[in-house]
Structure formats: C-alpha cells, structure tokens
C-alpha cells in the first residue's frame, strides 16, 4: 500500500469533506425545521391531517434512500411539464437532487422520532398544563415540545449518524463527496485500499466527533436524569 497517493491528492478529499458536511448539515437542518410542525400535526386525531403525513413517512421510511434519490434525479426528467418549467433549473442539478432526497428522507424519520417522543409525554404534565389554563399553543411550546426534544435526543443522534452515512450515496449521482473523492482516486490510480480506507477513516473521524458532541449535549439536556 502506498499512501503517498492520498497525500498528493488530499485536496480532492478535502473538497469531498466540504461537500459531505454541507449536504449533511443542510439536509438535517431543513429536515428538522419541517419535521417539528409536521410531527405535531401527525399526532392530530383528524385523519385528514395525520393521514397524508403518515403516508409520506411510510413511503420514505419503507423504501431505500438510493431509490428515492434516483426517483428525483433521473425520474423528474420524464415529465415534460417539469422540464419546461422553472423547476428544471433545480432538478437538472445533481447537487440539488441529492439535497432534496436527503431532506425528504431525514424529515420523514425525524417526524416519527419526534412523534414518538410527543406521545410519550407523561400524562400528568399535560394535565397540569391544562389545569393551569394554558392554551393548546402554550401547552405545546412550553411543556410538550421541550420535554419531547429531550426524550428524542438519543434517537435523533442516531439519525444524524445515519444521515452522514447515507450521504455517501451522493457519490453515485456524480457528486464529489468523501466517497466520490475515493472513487475518483480509485479510478485514477487503481488503488482501492488506499482510496476507500482513507474515505473510511474520514467518516470514522466525523462519526466519533459527532458521537462525542451528542454525549456532551445529552449530558446537559438530560441532566435531571443523571445518576450521581
């Protein structure tokens, strides 16, 4: 094995690192922003509100991310109406398609994570809020959501790691993320060990940093559950 190839081409990997970090953080952020209100609506008893959201999460959690990405990247071109509209400016870009697919995917998982946490709110807390005369809006913003976020944190942490690993699929549709960089190096030098082991090391490092940060966050957020 000759890792000098990697040292010579480290700029390709750094570009990949940048793209991976941008894709993952953007899709997670946008996904989370949309997931919170949708999770609240998902708990609604009105089937016309919860039904469509349920169908959306069921589809995106039950199919592979790769297929979802292909549906958006290759699939949108099938429709003349999209090709001729302004939307095509976005859908012809692989970068946008990957971001769109990742966002829809992580949003679906996040909705279910937050919904689970909302439904596990201790009943007494809700009753106390009602007894104090809080409106529906106040109950959610002051009582239910803050405590749900705490409960959802460990599972959401897994989702963050999952998204980081899922983002490697972007390399399949020509994007140079960390995996894409490894594929370039492999095809240029035919040196799969060096190329993919380096990519693995990058992902491993990011994963460890994320796990460490999440532990710290959990330590603060779940301080009331800490055993002395």
């Amino acid at each position: 094995m000759d890792f000098s190839i990697i040292a010579d081409n480290i700029d390709v990997y750094l570009l990949g690192l940048k793209n991976t970090l941008i894709l993952v953080s953007l899709s997670l952020a946008i996904g989370l922003v949309f997931a919170i209100p949708l999770a609240v609506l998902r708990t609604s008893k009105n089937i016309f509100i919860s039904g469509p959201i349920n169908a959306y999460t069921y589809f995106f959690r039950g199919t592979p991310l790769l297929v979802q990405m292909f549906l958006i990247y290759y699939g949108m071109g099938q429709f003349e109406s999209i090709k001729t509209s302004f939307l095509w400016i976005f859908f012809k870009e692989a970068y946008f398609c990957a971001l769109f697919a990742f966002t829809l995917n992580t949003c679906a998982y996040t909705i279910e994570i937050i919904r689970g946490a909302i439904e596990n709110t201790p009943h007494g807390e809700v009753e106390a809020a009602k007894a104090a005369g809080m409106s529906w809006y106040l109950r959610f913003t002051r009582i239910i959501l803050p405590s749900s976020f705490r409960r959802a944190l460990p599972t959401y942490g897994n989702e963050i790691i999952f998204m980081l690993h899922g983002s490697s699929l972007a390399s399949v549709i020509t994007i140079i993320d960390i995996t894409g960089a490894a594929r370039i190096i492999n095809s240029r030098y035919y040196s799969p060990y060096e190329a993919y082991l380096t990519a693995g090391a990058f992902y491993l490092t990011i994963t460890f940093i994320l796990v460490w940060l999440l532990k710290k966050l959990e330590y603060r957020w779940l301080a009331h559950l800490r055993r002395e």
Binding site: Y58, F59, G62, T63, P64, L65, L66, V67, Q68, F70, L71, Y74, G75, M76, G77, Q78, F79, L164, H165, G166, S167, S168, L169, S171, V172, T179, A182, R183, N186, Y190, P192, Y193, Y196, L197, A199, G200, Y203, L204, T207, F208
Partner: protein
C-alpha cells in the same frame, strides 16, 4: 402510467435476486452476530477486543464505502494472492458473493449488539440452574439461553432486517442485476425512469410491509405469557 413495455418480467427477476440477497446476507449476519455477541461477553480479553473493534469500525463507516472497499479491494487482493498460490489466471470476483458478504459483514455488527442485549436480558440464575443439572455449556446455550433470548432479540432483529433489506439496493452499484439495476436498464431503454423507479419503490414498500406483519406475529408469539400492560 404503469405500462412497463415488457420489462415487467426482468424486474420480477430482479426482485427475486433482491429477496435472495436479503435472505443469504441475513443468515451470514446472524451467524456473525451471535459469534460476535458471545465474543463480547466472553472472559477472553482478545475476543472482547476483536469484537469491539469490529462493531465500532463497521458502525462508523458507511455501507457503500465498505462495499466498494470489499468489491474493488477484494478484487485486487485475490489477484495478488492468486499467483502466489500458483494460480495464474485473472480471477473475477462474483458480485453476488461480494454483495452478500459485505451486507452480512455489516449487519453482523448490528446483530451482535442486538443479541448481546438479548443474552444479558436472560436471568443468570436460569443458566446456573442449567449447569446445576449437569448440562454442558452447549446444551445450556441451545436449551435455555437461545429460547429465552429470542423474545428479547425480536424487536431489534426486526429493525435490523428492515434496514438490511433497504441496504441491498446498494448492490446495484457494484453491477448486480437486482431490481434497482434492472429498473435502471429499463428506464434507460424506455426513457421512463420515474415509472420504473416508482415500481421498484412500491415493491420495496410491499416487502417492508409484509416483513412488519410477520415480525408483529412473531413478536406476539414469543411474548406469550409476558403480556405488556
């Protein structure tokens, strides 16, 4: 919209390959998982260390990178080792083997965590009672530990299975003709990518839904006598 232009049959064949892949890699992952779980719980330090490294590494690296590493790296490796053993011809790695072993290898790590938790959930007194009856370690494992850990393992096992099924879509990248690949070929020929990928998505949805139904049944069956409130 669902006019498949005669590609229905080839997609069905791809589906069969996907199912085959799922089942074979499931078997590999379960065998690896139980060995790793036992290694993690054993008193031998070296076994602990190897098992711990294995599960940490696998869970920190994306499936796709591992698969490409094993597929392309394995190709180079085999052709470096082949001549040393006196085998002159170029050896092609079978993508099915590469796919199945990678997915089995990856999910072995996840299964190990599930099984470890399930083994720990069986009360130690049960095992001691087995030994007190003069059972061998193997008998205790087969007759006492296994039947009881199944109940604790099923929820985690079910999650792993659902994720595993979706991961098999990745083998299309290393050239296996699973349903994603056959759909891609059909899409290229007919210029109807959306239709074909949607069909594949729906087949995956059916596979997941059926799995969930079966898993719920299994869970009910093995939870008999342990009713949850």
């Amino acid at each position: 919209m669902f006019n498949l232009h005669g590609y229905g049959y080839s997609i069905l064949q791809g589906t069969l390959l996907t199912i085959e892949l799922c089942l074979v890699s499931l078997v590999i992952s379960m065998v690896l998982g139980i060995i790793t779980a036992l290694a993690k719980l054993s008193k031998v330090r070296a076994a602990n260390l190897i098992a711990q490294t294995y599960t940490t590494l696998i869970r920190g690296i994306p499936d796709l990178v591992l698969m490409l590493l094993l597929f392309y790296g394995g190709q180079v490796f085999v052709n470096q080792v082949g001549p040393m053993l006196g085998y002159g011809d170029y050896i092609d790695i079978n993508p099915f083997m590469a796919g199945v072993s990678t997915i089995g290898f990856i999910f072995g790590a996840y299964m190990a965590e599930t099984f470890r938790g399930a083994i720990l959930a069986v009360p130690g007194g049960q095992l001691e009672a087995g030994y007190a009856y003069g059972m061998t370690r193997f008998k205790v494992f087969v007759r006492i530990l296994m039947p009881q850990m199944v109940r604790h393992a099923i929820p985690g096992f079910g999650n792993n299975w659902l994720v595993l099924m979706k991961t098999t879509a990745l083998v299309s990248i290393i050239g296996l003709k699973d349903m994603v690949r056959t759909a891609g070929l059909a899409a290229g020929a007919t210029r109807m990518p959306f239709t074909f990928y949607l069909v594949v998505a729906l087949i995956y949805l059916i596979l997941t839904s059926v799995s969930i139904l079966i898993l719920n049944r299994l869970n009910k069956k093995y939870s008999l006598g342990f009713a949850k409130n």
